[in-house]
Amino acid sequence: MMDFILAWLTVLPGYVVPLLLASLGVLLSERAGILNLCPEGFMAVGAMTGALLCLAGHDPWTAVLAGTLSGLGLSLVFGLAVVVFRVEQTLAGLAIVALGLGITGVIGRSHVQKPFPGLPRLSETAWGADLPRLLGQQNMLLPLSLLLLALIAWFLARSPAGLRLRAVGEDPAAADISGVDVQRVQLGAVLASGALGGLAGAFLSVASAHVWVEGMVAGRGWVVVALVIFARWRPLRCLWAALLFGGTEAIMPRLQALGVDFPVYLGAMLPYVLTLAVLALASMRRGARSGAPAALGLTYLRQDKH
């Protein structure tokens, strides 16, 4: 039993970290009032770009950075559409996902299923060889993501810029009057969500799978959007939400390894069912918009009368 739990904990970060990173991105964007359905697209371009650079023989960290930047690039398109062109945010988000999946499918076609070394595990680094297995199997993106979580939590709760961001998401008109540049804040938040989504995608290919296949994000981006609602737009709760979903997801292969006989695809379905159930229960108890930024999804225009 102990072995089973240890094995589960060892693989856990591989499932949790991408969800955590991408959901922090969605959280930042939505706290600034921009409804963000894009992570599936951000993660797709991040994963592909990272893999492509690895395959081209670049350093894995360069690949991770490039993946992050590719997500940022795609989010710039989203940001221009919703912040400058005032496009309806649900439709724009879906279009961005189509772009992300389309680009990766077209460009990545000839790079499918080619394995590469990718980001080393800690036990493979010069200084980490003696680490216990639980830590040795991880990579540097795990501490980095936890650091980002702490930073973002601090940023939103304590920093003046975080206060401005939250103000824009709650009441953009009031924020505007008090001198906050609403568009700049929203664009910044969207770009951050793209970078974090790209980083999450790069984690999938460069740090976790060490290979790229089309459709490797496999709906995780949609799950991320649900996790943020479930986390009621709080950074620390994003971690618990990611642990719940990722933890359930991670248990399945471990059970199989033990030889427990259960239908594979029904097992894979379980985290999604669980997310939906938890979402429904939370909404039943507290109301679905509890914790939601008041101006989420609304288009702000200075000239509109409120």
């Binding site: 724009a92 961005i96 189509a98 077209v106 568009q183 379905m269």
Partner: protein, 353 residues
């Protein structure tokens, strides 16, 4: 940052202006998509040949385009009906899977007399699609759970269910591949004698006519417009809001379910893992570009059917992934969406005082 430009919301959008921005967005998007395809290695003259001549102007190509159009009409109509009452149906693929599974289930168990088998498959697929959208609808009405997320999650859940069946009880023992056994002849939609075009065309056209009738002529359609414009005002005016929302949303699910059955019984003749791919975005694109108008849904679906046909050709001849279809849809949708700014707002460039 950009407050130098004033955006003044127009009280009424002139029809001519609306048409012009829409056309400009469409042209810009298509031009951008063409540019991308040329960059990917398709010679520019081939674009005209593959996208216009071979897909619309030859009998064989047109037949393929119409065949591709049939399920697109159904999912586009499904999304449009839901959009009319402000319900984001993003679980199109889930409802489609359920419909396809319901049809396959009837076929595998040989339920009912052979003469009634096909109608039963189609009817049950509609029920299954409606059932799959009923859950998000209930969650939204009862506790306000966002349907964007619940329909999406149910889409993933449906796909795992399909895989569970195909890798398990429904696997074709003759081939060993994860597809269901081929349908019997009585379980297939009859071909119309023009390429692969099948009787599903009449179902799609019938659905368009019915939807146009309901929306344009009946009281229900008129009420639905009121609900879509302002739900609270509609409720205050004493309209049966709940009934309208439920009938439109369940109808949307039923149409998407029917699309699944039409794909299985009309073109594929078996359930496989790949039949539902891509319909999510196409449904959204069609519904938005057609402005939820049933007749326009038919037109947009027809054009999109051409894109699907061309996508197949480009894959074979130029080795370009089918994801191209998705990319083009994304580019065009985003472009039309962005162009709408100039219809919805008057842009004044003087400095804000």
């Amino acid at each position: 940052m950009l407050e130098g430009a004033l955006l003044i919301r127009r009280q009424r959008v002139p029809l001519g202006l609306w048409g012009a921005t829409y056309a400009a967005g469409l042209v810009f998007g298509l031009a951008l998509a063409a540019l991308i395809l040329v960059r990917l290695g398709v010679p520019a003259p081939a674009l005209w040949q593959e996208f216009v001549v071979q897909t619309f102007l030859t009998s064989q190509g047109l037949g393929q385009t119409v065949t591709a159009m049939i399920p697109l009409v159904l999912v586009g109509l499904g999304t449009a009906l839901a959009m009319r009452v402000q319900f984001w149906n993003i679980g199109i693929e889930g409802q489609l899977w359920l419909g396809a599974m319901a049809a396959t289930w009837v076929s595998l168990h040989d339920i009912g007399p052979a003469a009634l088998r096909l109608p039963l498959m189609l009817a049950l697929s509609m029920l299954a699609g409606a059932f799959w959208i009923a859950l998000p609808l209930a969650l939204k009405l009862l506790w306000g759970v966002s349907e964007v997320i619940s329909t999406l999650l149910l889409g993933s859940i449906a796909f795992f269910w399909v895989q569970h069946q195909l890798f398990g009880a429904w696997r074709d023992t003759a081939t060993g591949f994860p597809t269901s056994p081929t349908l019997d002849a009585v379980e297939r939609l009859p071909l119309l004698g023009w390429g692969q075009v099948h009787a599903g065309l009449w179902l799609a056209l019938g659905a368009v006519a019915l939807a146009a009738l309901v929306i344009g002529v009946t009281r229900l359609g008129f009420y639905a417009r009121a609900v879509g414009e302002n739900r609270r005002a509609a409720r205050a005016a004493g309209l049966p809001v709940l009934l309208i929302v439920c009938s439109f949303v369940l109808g949307a699910g039923a149409l998407c379910g029917l699309a699944g059955a039409v794909i299985v019984t009309g073109t594929e003749f078996r359930l496989s893992q790949s039949i539902g791919a891509g319909y999510l975005f196409s449904g959204i694109v069609i519904a938005y570009l057609a402005r939820s108008n049933p007749l326009a849904v038919l037109v947009v679906s027809f054009l999109l059917g051409g894109l699907y046909t061309a996508g197949g050709v480009l894959k074979v001849f130029y080795g370009i992934s089918e994801a191209m279809v998705l990319l083009v849809q994304g580019v065009v949708l985003l472009s039309v969406l962005a162009a709408q700014l100039f219809a919805d707002f008057r842009v004044e460039t003087r400095r804000a005082a």
